[in-house]
């Protein structure tokens, strides 16, 4: 029923987001080197949908996710969440807004405080933000736990007694208990076994259906992203290379990097042999990325113009944007 109310507006708008990390803190020279972890990316997410963010490790996915939630200061750009510009909001106000945007972490072991029982991990912030009246606190937490597939007697247990999958459920319950609108999922599956991954994906999908959450789903597993997302963004060295509807990206990948990425996914069928694009060369250092198109050192269709000019992210079909000189830039 929540889903019926979803209108077409965007819950999150990221405009020209930049996050640079200085390379060394005690650099003597004035013009310090920076790792451009996120370098000018823009995208929007519709309410109640899931956007997948894929890319190689170190390409800035986590940094993008954390910058959006203002978990650290950003170097430039704007994040507009639900009509409010998060980059301008005061710390106190931001803290009060936090319950609305949550995060699920990659490592189920280090993301739960080892000295707190599960009930407290999930409920601490619920109490602090007074999400429910005091009298209903207990039953509310238990309800959330049941929704996330945790048994009520786990309430008093400590994280060390749980397996990776159960810990990830606790982590999800902690986010869900705050009644958020938007959840950043930073590779929530990569530390889990295949059979447990399916349980967690189903749980996340069910919760989305029930409560209309919006997800930003970060992953390097393309098959999972294909399954769970509505739109997909492909990142490479801090920049968005291709972005659009899931169908369009998977059926008609335009960017050479996306093509390589898609062809590299191993297929679970011994009779299907993919015509694989093997990228030669390694990922360049993010401290000094190649000039022009960042992908040109590994691109098979690299042209002369690619070294000179940075390709702009342009829309070629409806809801399908690509940054590559192979397609007309004007």
């Amino acid at each position: 029923m929540e889903k019926a109310k979803i209108d077409n507006d965007y819950i999150l708008e990221v405009k020209n987001l930049k996050k640079y990390y200085p390379v060394s803190r005690f650099s003597i020279s004035k013009n310090r080197a920076y790792v451009k972890a996120v370098d000018d990316i823009s995208f929007k997410i519709k309410r109640g949908t899931t956007m997948g963010l894929v890319g190689e490790s170190g390409c800035g996915k986590t940094t993008a996710g954390r910058s959006i939630l203002r978990l650290h200061d950003i170097t430039g750009g704007q994040v507009v969440f639900d009509g409010k510009d998060l980059s301008k909001i005061s710390p106190g106000k931001l803290r009060r807004m936090r319950p609305q945007m949550q995060m699920i972490f990659q490592d189920p072991y280090s993301s739960l405080s080892p000295r707190m029982p599960v009930g407290e991990i999930i409920g601490e912030a619920v109490r602090e933000h007074r999400i429910v009246p005091k009298s209903q606190y207990r039953s509310y937490i238990l309800k959330v736990m049941r929704d996330c597939g945790l048994q009520p007697q786990y309430f008093y247990r400590y994280p060390h007694e749980f397996s990776g999958g159960q810990r990830q459920r606790i982590s999800i319950a902690r986010a869900v208990a705050l009644n958020p609108k938007f959840i950043v999922c930073d590779e929530p599956l990569s530390a889990l076994d295949v059979s447990i991954q399916a349980q967690i994906i189903n749980l996340m999908k069910d919760l989305q259906e029930q409560y209309g959450y919006t997800y930003l789903f970060i992953s390097h597993d393309l098959s999972v992203v294909e399954y769970i997302s509505d739109t997909i963004g492909v990142m490479y060295l801090g920049s968005m290379m291709e972005m659009g509807d899931k169908k369009r990206i998977f059926e008609n990948p335009m960017h050479p990097y996306t093509k390589a990425l898609l062809s590299a996914v191993p297929i679970s069928d011994p009779d299907v042999k993919m015509n694989r694009i093997i990228l030669s060369g390694d990922i360049p250092s993010p401290v000094n990325p190649p000039s022009g198109c960042k992908f040109r050192t590994r691109c098979q269709s690299c042209m002369e113009v690619c070294a000179r000019k940075v390709p702009k992210l342009k829309e070629y079909e409806e809801g399908h944007m690509v940054a590559c000189h192979l397609y007309s830039q004007d």
Partner: protein, 399 residues
């Protein structure tokens, strides 16, 4: 007082079936463990063992390795972990054998047993045999080979590639130094110059563009994919007949993974060796392996050729695994998921280990552990669903 409870046993049926050990139990267990461990350690430390004692004959001369009823246990203070509990399979010459399974199901321990690298003293091979045919035609019974002899076999004939390439390279030595050392150790009549030549040649073989430059770099200066290549080059430098690759691409990105897998396949052709490929990614198995072994909680539940496993999986766990991986086809409906989780390794049930998660479990499944049932000369699965002699009329009716 809460503190005193650590000395008491309290277990409430129904609500809490987790076993908690009291202090006294733990003391008793560790005392017993010490006795057992001492016995096995003494066996391994023997010197001047006559060769007859550990030379043996292969069942099938085409195999490089034969595991038979291997049991490797860890004697921990909280109880005995039966990490490998009766595993039998063969690695034929020139083939890639894929081992899949959930984390903690004993994949790594199986391969470490072959190398005699199981973390001693708690980890010990307690039963079964591993027969290995070396380059010189001799067949060794690895479980009986004394430690000093094993040093020679390990690394030269069998080499291993680990999951985390950073931790398996020593950070304080240059790549070249580490590679030369391996060559010098295992090859007779090598001079430092020829070792260097060999190392550079190997680096070139694994597709590193400027091997001379990489030769004098430190591990931290390389990317993950490069380090994994260096590991592979190192593993190859002594002409091994068997490469054990323990999750060689789990820490890498898909594009790098594709490179490494391609490389492994090429190299296998070049040296005509065998590969034991351990992974939890079914896609990787489907692409690489000729034969597949599916493990669950320390046992083999199904084995067969890739086609058999992927086109007609028999065991409910294998079937579930195939279905639970999202692929382009399954887009909109719910994913199939196997409920529950792996049972506690210390308190394994007597019946089928998969019982608590199986959606086709029957009454007979609570009987003794199911035997391997043969479907074809190569295809086996351990499940009562296919055991006609054991199925009662009731269960058949339900089918």
């Amino acid at each position: 007082m809460g503190l005193l409870n650590i000395f008491k046993r309290k277990k409430i049926e129904g609500i809490d079936n987790t076993m908690y050990l009291t202090l006294r139990d733990e003391r008793r267990i560790s005392k017993e463990n010490n006795k057992i461990i001492k016995y096995y350690e003494r066996m391994k430390a023997r010197k001047n063992v006559p060769e007859e004692e550990y030379l043996t004959q292969m069942r099938d001369p085409n195999n490089v390795v034969e595991f038979e009823n291997l049991h490797t246990y860890f004697f921990t203070d909280v109880g005995t972990v039966k990490s490998v509990n009766g595993v039998s399979f063969d690695v034929p010459q020139g083939k890639i054998v894929g081992i899949v399974g959930e984390s903690g199901c004993g994949k790594s321990v199986t391969s470490l047993s072959l190398m005699q690298l199981v973390q001693a003293p708690t980890g010990q091979i307690v039963e079964g045999s591993i027969r290995y045919k070396a380059n010189d035609g001799k067949c060794y019974e690895i479980t009986k080979v004394p430690r000093d002899k094993m040093l020679k076999i390990r690394g030269k004939d069998i080499s291993m590639i680990f999951q985390e390439p950073m931790t398996s390279l020593n950070p304080v030595f240059r790549i070249g130094e580490q590679m030369d050392e391996v060559v010098l150790l295992h090859e007779d009549g090598m001079t430092p110059e020829s070792a260097k030549k060999r190392s550079i040649e190997m680096l070139r073989l694994v597709g590193i563009a400027m091997p001379e430059k990489i030769y004098s770099k430190y591990p931290h200066e390389l990317s993950g994919g490069m380090r994994q290549r260096v590991m592979i080059a190192m593993a190859l430098s002594c002409n091994p007949r068997l490469i054990i690759a323990d999750e060689p691409t789990t820490a890498l990105d898909v594009t790098i993974q594709a490179q490494i897998l391609e490389l492994l396949r090429e190299i296998k052709e070049k040296i005509n060796g065998s590969i034991m490929l351990i992974t939890h990614d079914l896609g990787v198995i489907a692409e690489m392996a000729d034969l597949v072994v599916v493990m669950y909680a320390g046992r083999i539940i199904e084995k067969g050729t890739v086609r058999e496993i992927f086109h007609s999986p028999k065991h409910p766990y294998t079937i579930g695994l195939m279905k639970s991986k999202p692929s382009g086809k399954t887009t909109d409906d719910r994913l199939f998921s196997i409920k529950g989780q792996v049972p506690n390794p210390i308190n394994m049930p007597d019946h089928c280990y998969f019982y608590n998660r199986c959606d086709r479990a029957m009454e007979v499944c609570l009987g003794e552990y199911p035997k391997l049932i043969q479907f074809s000369p190569t295809h086996f699965a351990a499940c009562y669903l296919y055991d006609e002699s054991r199925l009662s009329g009731d269960d058949l009716a339900k089918e």
